[in-house]
Assembly symmetry: C2
Homo-oligomer: 341 residues x 2
DNA sequence: CTGTTAGCGCGTTCAG
DNA sequence: CTGAACGCGCTAACAG
């Protein structure tokens, strides 16, 4: 892509260089390389040969200026360190990479100022669209409608219902979890969850209760909110075991479930024989390392990212959407609810 | 950034629009907005006012074409899903965001074809430099020297010593781990590690053995290579306990250490009273959830990413470097080697 | 102080 | 079939 000019400095190869060396005009070279008609086959071959020899790489920026489309999208995340952003990001990158879209990654770290700054940078680079990834499932402020390109919100929905958002369906996840527990013969179900201020915790609990109610049952004890940690799981499990008898414990996250499994093991409670355990998230490192391996609800973050990218591309192509779209979660059955699974 | 033209279509605001509305030429508008001298204060103010009102966002691409620098760097990763890429990516994003660099993210997933494809895309977009993140610490093939922009390799070094690479210092990490164990009064140290084919496993073992030797001691039993999983840790711990007595077990990763802790707990072995345990990686979810919390060696991936970005920026500015630079790891002391810590 | 001119690299008319 | 000319949005150099 570079060559030496007289001064010895390396300069990037341009279409003109190719044309010159092939003995044609830039226009002809352009047509030849873009596979357009109206070029004599032999001419085309010669141009292609020269382009290859010089390692000519067309300047996408120059093309973008003409076309008005840059073939880039911005990914504005607020929680790069978290477990949620990454799969979403992968899904988006995946959906984009399939075509010839490139992804600008920005981490605002939950700071509105930084977010604004990155937004300006993205718009300055004329991205064709933006995906905003939140750090919680609670609604977040919209970027507003004066943003000149389509925006899709993932994980955290926009607080403006006319924006397009893709979110995990935590209510449904709670329902699916309980339905699985019921189906595997458990009726006395306790619920240990995480931080009470998280919409995800509330939604899952609501979905779970709804499923219990539909079966004519009731949760054993209150939903025990605490924190999204193993130690809370260990602690709360003790409290649950000391209360009314249970045959299953639904946990707000895989981490909490790990803690619960620890306490059950310490107390000699057989899992899943005496008590079944379920988590949420399908966090590989957590579910596969536990004893027994952990049944969980996969929120399908990667599918969420892919879907967000799809909606964004559609909007870019003039087919915008609006409203909140929920991704259907999926139960992953392992040994903590079904012996030997 | 957009406005309505006659047809009702929205069009992006250009410098010309601003100039026109402010009643000056584009050149003057440009100078005014870029804070250059030779503009009457009042004129400048008027231009700024108009720019603000139209939400004018300068087209970075157009600037880049003139300047020959795009203010973008490519991040070519091969293991986005892994725990290593992300912190590196964060460090790089961090170091970049400080200035006005934007990051193109590409995931090649260890596929050479995809890597080549993404490389072309990045070069087409005229990135000023590229960071290549490997998925293992084993050397990887160089992109070669015909790439027209600086390249820095992170995590996995390039196999070409004239390239610039930043890697974790696994040998040193092994040494630091053993030194910590010795310092806390342990002398009979066994070593359980991960996949024998990983350079990281070999390097850590070598560093550990060197430290033992320096203290006139010897490892208890062979290095027990297996896999980077909790279940291997549980299994191997049993084997170790059934062999010669030990007062410390060094584990090749935090995950393995978690498994080891499980077995010790099952067997009623007190940690760290009877046997101390150490891991590598400082993986938050692993170390904080364990009982007791896990002493570990932090490889400082984020610092690695930051350093890689620094080297890249230096190279972009004409101060290239070459060779492999190792990041000094850091022991993080917790309860599994020092009671109550 | 301000406006005019000349490109940056490319694709796209439209004459030859 | 081929090539000259124009423009995308902006800045640097000069002319007024």
């Amino acid at each position: 892509m570079t060559s030496q000019d007289g001064s010895g400095r390396t300069r990037t190869v341009t279409l003109r260089d190719v044309a010159q060396l092939a003995g044609v005009s830039v226009a002809t070279a352009s047509k030849a390389l873009n596979g357009r008609a109206d070029v004599r086959p032999e001419t085309r071959r010669r141009v292609e040969e020269v382009a290859g020899r010089l390692a000519f790489t067309p300047n996408t920026l120059a093309k973008a200026m003409l076309a008005g489309q840059t073939g880039t999208v911005g990914l504005l995340t607020n929680d790069l360190v978290g477990r949620f952003s990454l799969p979403i990001l992968m899904g988006a990158e995946d959906a984009s990479g399939a075509g010839r879209m490139s992804v600008f990654l920005c981490d605002a770290r939950g700071d509105a100022i930084r977010e604004r700054y990155h937004l300006r940078a993205l718009l300055g680079r004329r991205v064709d669209g933006i995906i905003v990834v939140g750090s919680e499932t609670d609604p977040r402020p919209s970027l507003g409608h004066h943003v000149p390109v389509p925006v899709v919100y993932a994980y955290a929905p926009s607080d403006d219902p006319t924006d397009a958002s893709v979110v995990p369906d935590n209510v449904r996840a709670g329902t699916l979890a309980v339905e699985h527990l019921l189906l595997t013969g458990h009726q006395r179900i306790a619920h240990i969850s995480g931080d009470v201020t998280y919409a995800a915790a509330q939604d899952r609990a609501r979905g779970a209760d709804a499923a219990l109610q539909a079966a004519g049952l009731q949760r054993v004890g209150p939903v025990r909110f605490g924190s999204w940690t193993e130690s809370w799981g260990r602690l709360a499990a003790g409290v649950v075991l000391d209360g009314d008898p249970v045959d299953a414990i639904l946990c707000g996250s895989d981490q909490i479930a790990r803690g619960v499994l620890d306490t059950l093991r310490d107390r000699g409670v057989d899992v899943p024989g005496d008590v079944a355990v379920m988590g949420f998230d399908n966090w590989e490192a957590m579910v596969s390392g536990s004893r027994p391996s952990l049944t969980t609800v996969d929120m399908r973050f990667e599918a969420m990212g892919r879907r967000a990218a799809e909606l964004l591309f559609a909007a870019i192509e003039g087919r915008p959407s609006s409203g909140i779209e929920a991704i259907e979660p999926r139960v992953v059955v392992r040994g903590s609810t079904v012996a030997g699974a």
